[in-house]
Each structure stands twice: as C-alpha cells, then as structure tokens.
C-alpha cells in the first residue's frame, strides 16, 4: 500500500480512521496519492467511500490519524486556503434556486474574490475556462433548473473547476446519468488529469469504466481498503467478485466488462465455436437461461474469455496447436449429454478441423443441430446424405428455433 514514488505526493494519510458520530467506518488507512493521478474508489454501497471523500475534504474530521494535503496537515489549512487547493462534487442534490449556469459556476470563485464576491476580469476568464473544459459553453446562459441531469453534472464539475483547485474529489460523479453523459463526464475528468495535472479522486460504481480510466484504484470493503494499486494489477476476476459479493455475474479483466451468468434451467447446449464467432451467442443463451458447454477453443480465444465469464463449461486446447485426441474425446462426451448443438459458424482451418467432426457426431447421434454458417453449401463442407441442420440467419433467429425445438422434446 505504501509505495514511495519520485513524483510529488499530493494527498497522504497516516494511520487514518474515518467515520461519523461514534462509528468508525474505515480504519488504518495509509494512502499516498501522487499529483496528477486519477484515483477511483470502488466498493459496495455503504463501504465508506463517501465518508472517506468527505474526510479528505475536511467535511468530516478524522476519527484518528492525519491527512496531509500537499505536505501540509489538513487541519492547519484556513478555510479559503483549502478551497483554493481542493474542490468537491458531491452526490447531494442541491437546488440553489434562480441562478443561471454562469452565475452558479461563478460561485466557485468564492475563495478568489473580494468581500462582496465581485467578479474581476481574471475571474471571468477562469469561469470561461471552466465551462470550456467541460464542453458546456452553450449552457452558461441557461437557468440551472432547466438543465438535464447530465448537463447539470457538467456545470457542477465546472463550478468545482472555477475554484482553480489542484485536487478534485467527486462522489459518484456518474450517478443518475445516461450512458452518453456518463462517458462524457468520465472523459472530462480524465482530461483534467492528463492535461491540467489535477489530481482526481472519485468514487465510482462502474468497475469497467474505472479500470479503463484510473491510474490507481482502491477497493473499499469491510472497514478497510482491501486492495490498492493500478487497475491492471488489482482488478482480477476473483478480487472484483469478492468486492461486490457477485453471485451470478463475474468481471473479466481482459474483456474489462461484467458478464451475467444464467442458472441454466432451460436445458444444456453445446456450442461449437471459435475465433469470436460465439460471443453474441453465448450472451444470448446465458440471458435466456441455457447452460452452455463450448469447445473446442484455443485458450487465448475471445470466445473462451466470454464463455468462461458466463460460467460455461469450456473444452480448451493450447493456442496455435491442433486439437488433441484427448480434447476431442472430452468434447464428444459432453456433446453426447447436451440437449442441442449449435454450430456458431466458426472459421475452419487446419488446427480446428476436428470441430467439424464434432458436428457430424451430433448429427449421427440425432441431436438437433443449429447452424449460423452462411457458407454451408460451400465446397469443403461435405453435406451428409441426410442433412438435418437447421439453418439460421441470425442469433435471435436461432434462439427462437432452439427454444421451440427443446420444448417439444
């Protein structure tokens, strides 16, 4: 957890315990955050992410320990001095009333303006810059209460930026936002980090987004930071599942996304796939409640990562090797137990030619065989005498036929 680095340390905590009232939420925190980094706090609701952020912003006093901001203990900052270094965006919905977005953002100049808060030329420039950083110049004249959630959030980030801070703390900045604005806000934050060198600490819910944007992630659970480090190291499948107590879903690091598992009560399907031909099919089958067996896949195939995340049983062969008799043996056993077989239309080459043999096997055993193959009559795919393959144009189409076929049996 305590990694020294040559670059400047912006936020540091020593033996910090945070909480509110009599309750300690997180304890023994020794954090170091380098200037200009993007830090994501991940963890389930109620883990203490908000409490930690509020303590860092001095809205709550630490139960124990000390926080250093830019080398100076947090409690020694004067209020306005602190506001010039650190700004926040909270989840709390505030409706400050009849303000235009410009007036609202100008409130952020508080620590820089005089007694009555009159805006100087320099303040106006800072406000303009804040608006352009969040791509919201057009929102400036609008009334605050006419903005959509996404626009509002951008204006709130602009208000924080108007404080000209070196650190921004954000509590769930993408909450309640649609996908477009979620991406937009995140890319704005990332740009603040990269281009303006602002240190960003945000609590996030989207593991996948956090993994792709953050320099460091902190996993907060059970009263402690259970892991801290670059997402590439920290966000393993097991860690993420444990963090959120995932049941029926899993996070795949290579895919950078979460897959949902099915209970598989609709029957089992053997999918012959490979080279990413099965991805859409797997997700669809899983969503509709089929249990999936798939093979024979090279161990580095995209199909394999998705299928495994979905909890499918996979028959795997080492990459760039021809399918071994052992793998084929295993596959044909599992195929015999399946209710139906699907040919995902995988490209055939020398290494996976045995997969075609699996399909023949299915026909010989009288399994319903569905195929997505479009070049089905092309030379090389020798049609057997009694071709009973059910041809389907799309995955949706296939699922329909599969559903009715399995129901009849």
């Amino acid at each position: 957890m305590n990694r020294r680095s040559s670059s400047e340390v912006m936020i540091e905590s020593r033996d910090l315990a945070v909480g509110y009232g009599e309750k300690t939420v997180l304890a023994a925190l020794n954090i170091q955050i380098q200037a200009g980094q993007f830090i994501s706090l991940l963890g389930p609701n109620g883990a203490g992410k908000t409490t930690l952020l509020k303590t860092l912003a001095r809205l709550l006093s630490p139960r124990q320990g000390t926080i250093f901001l830019d080398g100076k203990a947090l409690q020694f900052f004067r209020q306005e001095e602190l506001a010039r270094v650190l700004a926040v965006v909270l989840t709390e919905q505030v409706s400050p009333g009849l303000f235009s977005a410009f007036e609202f953002v100008s409130l952020g100049r508080y620590p820089h303006t005089g007694f009555l808060g009159t805006l100087q030329k320099r303040d106006r420039q800072a406000i303009q810059t804040s608006f352009s950083l969040v791509h919201a110049e057009d929102l400036a004249p609008r009334q605050l209460n006419t903005l959509s959630d996404g626009e509002r959030q951008k204006v709130f980030v602009a208000r924080a930026l108007a404080q000209d801070p070196r650190v921004i703390l954000l509590d769930e900045p993408t909450l309640h936002l649609d996908l477009k604005h979620r991406m937009e806000v995140m890319s704005i934050l990332q740009r603040l980090c990269r281009e303006k060198g602002i240190t960003v600490v945000a609590s996030l819910h989207d593991v996948d987004i956090a993994a792709k944007i953050s320099d460091q992630v902190a996993l907060v659970k059970n009263g402690a930071i259970i892991a801290w480090g670059p997402p590439e190291e920290v966000l393993q499948e097991e860690t993420v599942s444990a963090l959120y107590d995932f049941q029926g879903a899993s996070f795949n690091q290579r895919l950078g996304s979460i897959e949902f598992r099915s209970n598989g009560n609709k029957g089992s399907v053997f999918v012959v796939a490979g080279m990413a031909s099965g991805v859409i099919l797997y997700r669809l089958l899983s969503k509709r409640g089929f249990s999936i067996v798939t093979g024979i896949l090279p161990a580095n195939d995209l199909d394999y990562y998705v299928a495994r995340s979905l909890g499918a049983e996979c028959i795997v062969e080492a990459p760039m090797t021809e399918i071994s008799p052992q793998a084929f043996e295993q596959a044909s056993k599992l195929l015999a137990a399946a209710d139906g077989v699907i040919d995902a239309g995988f490209p055939v080459g020398n290494l996976n030619r045995k997969n075609l043999r699996l399909l023949d096997l299915a026909q010989e055993q009288g399994k319903p065989l569905f195929t997505l193959r479009t070049d089905i009559d092309a030379p090389g795919f020798r049609p057997s005498a009694d071709d009973q393959r059910i041809r389907c144009q799309t995955e949706m189409h296939l699922l329909e036929k599969l559903g009715s076929s399995l129901k009849e049996r």
Binding site: R58, G97, L107
Partner: protein, 316 residues
C-alpha cells in the same frame, strides 16, 4: 409612505402634509397628527417590515427551506411568553396601571432570551435540521406556558394581550424609532456584507465549506442578525406575521434571481413597501376601527405563499 401619512380618520391633503413636514408645524391639529401619530407609525412600518423580511431571507437561505420565517426559531414565542408574564400574571402588582413601555421591555427580553438560547444550541449542533426542530420545539414550549398563563388570567387582561399578539405599528415614539433605525441599520449593512457567504450557503453547508466559507462563524453571524432583527421588531410591534415569510419570495420573483447581493437590498425595499401598504389597509379598510396588521399581512401573505408553493415558481 406619504399616502400612509395622508389617509386616516382625519385626512390631510398632500399640500398640507408637505407644508407640515417642511415647516415642522406641530401646533395645529394636523401637525400633531402627522408628527406624533402618522409619521412615526409610517416609518415604523417601513423599518419593521424591512427588518422582518431580511430576517426571513436570512433564515430561508440558512435553512435552505422556503417556508421558514423569522419566527420559526421561537423568537416571537419567547417574546409572547414574557409579555404574557407581564400582562397577565400578577407580576405587575404594585404598578397602578400597566406601563406600555414595560411590555416592550418584556418582549425584548423574551425575544433575545430565545435568541441566546438558539445561538447557544446552534454552536453545539451541526445539522441545520436539528436546529430548526429545536427552535420549533422551543416555540411550542413557550406557547404551552403562555396558554397556561392565559387560562389563569383575568378576562379583561386577555383582550389586551390578544391584541398585542396581533401586532401593531401604532403608538411609536420617536425615541423607539431612533433606536430601531440605528441598531437595525447597522445590522442591515452587516447583512449586505454577508451576501457573498449567503450565496455560498445556497449550495448547502458542505459545498459552502469546501468553497472557503467558515461555517461556524457565518452560521453564528447569520442567526445573530436574523434573530436580532426579528426580536427588535417583535419587541416594539408585536409578532407581525407573514412579512418575513412572503417578502423574500416576492423579491426572488421580482428580481428573478437568487443572488443575495441583489436580494438583500431588494428585500429591504419590498419589505418596507409591502408592510406600509398592509398597515394602510389595516387602518383604512374599516376606518375608524383599526384592524390588526397581522390580519392583513396574513390575509395577503397566506394565499400567496400557498400559490407559490403550488406552482413552485420560486426556489431558494
């Protein structure tokens, strides 16, 4: 205000009025009415109205609650209780007749007693809502005690007390106005100075704090100014209802902003004007019978607040 001085049981034309004021005529009947009755009353209505309105504005911003008025924290209840003690109980024994100055003093003590209590509590509790509820409870307590006093009081004393409770800007002496003007004026200037942190407070205490507002200090200052103004008016005019609640909303609508640097002066002007008007209506509607000012302010204020809240056209 000029109209306010002109109209009454004895109407005085504008020309005469100007003459009376400019030449400081005090001997004639009209002169007496203007200098001793109408003018002090008109000025008192303007001052009282603006003070109450500002007090309401401060508390609405502070609590971020549009239906808060200056008396929400028990200021008027404290004053009422003390006045009840003086007017209804036998504490006035030994005094041949009840001195009106005595009830003013009692109201002042009551109002500022409640204020000191509230400020003491405010330094202890963090949450604004807790403070708000504490204030409300304090009000109920005082009310309870007052009603006990009313139950035991003699009948003829009760009418006087009820009338006091409805408030009036009548019977002001120039001395009282002078004190009101000076003390209140100082506070109003202070409030204008507070408008920058007040704007920050619009975002809630947490945002205000992270923008550089010293919450403890300004929380104390805002409450102090609000309570001092409300207490001052209550002491001399009784608890005048609704001005403090409705005028800040009207100001927000009039000036179409929540920026307190505009609202503070705006509210002062509107508060004075509207209270003058209400006082005029109170005196003139059923002349020579004079209605209590609270009846008029509430009569106009209540429907207005209701419609504002229904339409949600005003925000804090």
């Amino acid at each position: 205000m000029a109209i306010n001085v002109m109209i009454g049981s004895v109407s005085i034309p504008l020309v005469d009025l100007l003459g009376i004021i400019s030449q400081r005529v005090t001997e004639s009947t009209s002169g007496f009415i203007v200098w001793k009755i109408r003018l002090p009353r008109a000025i008192a209505a303007v001052l009282g109205g603006s003070f109450l309105a500002i007090s309401g504005l401060l508390l609405q911003v502070f609590f971020r609650n549009p239906i808060v008025g200056p008396f929400i924290l028990g200021i008027s209840s404290g004053a009422t209780l003390m006045v009840a003690v003086v007017m209804l109980s036998t504490l006035s024994l030994g005094m041949p007749a009840l001195n009106p100055f005595f009830s003013t003093l009692a109201a002042l003590m009551g109002a500022y007693g409640a204020m000191i209590l509230i400020l003491t509590i405010a330094t202890r509790v963090r949450s604004g809502v807790t403070l708000l509820i504490t204030g409300l409870m304090l009000g109920y307590l005082c009310h309870a005690l007052t009603s006990v006093l009313v139950a035991f009081a003699e009948r003829e004393k009760i009418k006087g007390f009820v009338l006091w409770q409805l408030g009036s800007f009548a019977g002001f002496k120039w001395l009282e106005i002078g004190i009101l003007f000076l003390a209140g004026g100082v506070i109003l200037i202070a409030v204008y100075g507070l408008s920058k942190p007040l704007n920050a407070f619009l975002l809630g205490e947490e945002y205000a704090s992270t923008m550089g507002v010293n919450i403890r200090l300004f929380r104390f200052l805002i409450l102090l100014c609000a309570c001092a103004l409300a207490g001052m008016v209550t002491a001399v005019a009784g608890p005048v209802a609704f001005v403090g609640l409705a005028v800040p909303h009207m100001a927000r609508l009039c000036f179409a902003t929540s920026d307190n640097r505009v609202l503070v002066p705006g509210t002062i002007l509107l508060g004075g004007t509207i209270t003058s008007l209400c006082d005029l209506v109170a005196r003139w509607l059923f002349s020579p019978v004079e209605l209590p000012i609270s009846a008029i302010t509430a009569f106009f204020g209540a429907p207005m607040v209701i419609s504002l809240l229904m339409k949600r056209r005003t925000f804090l």
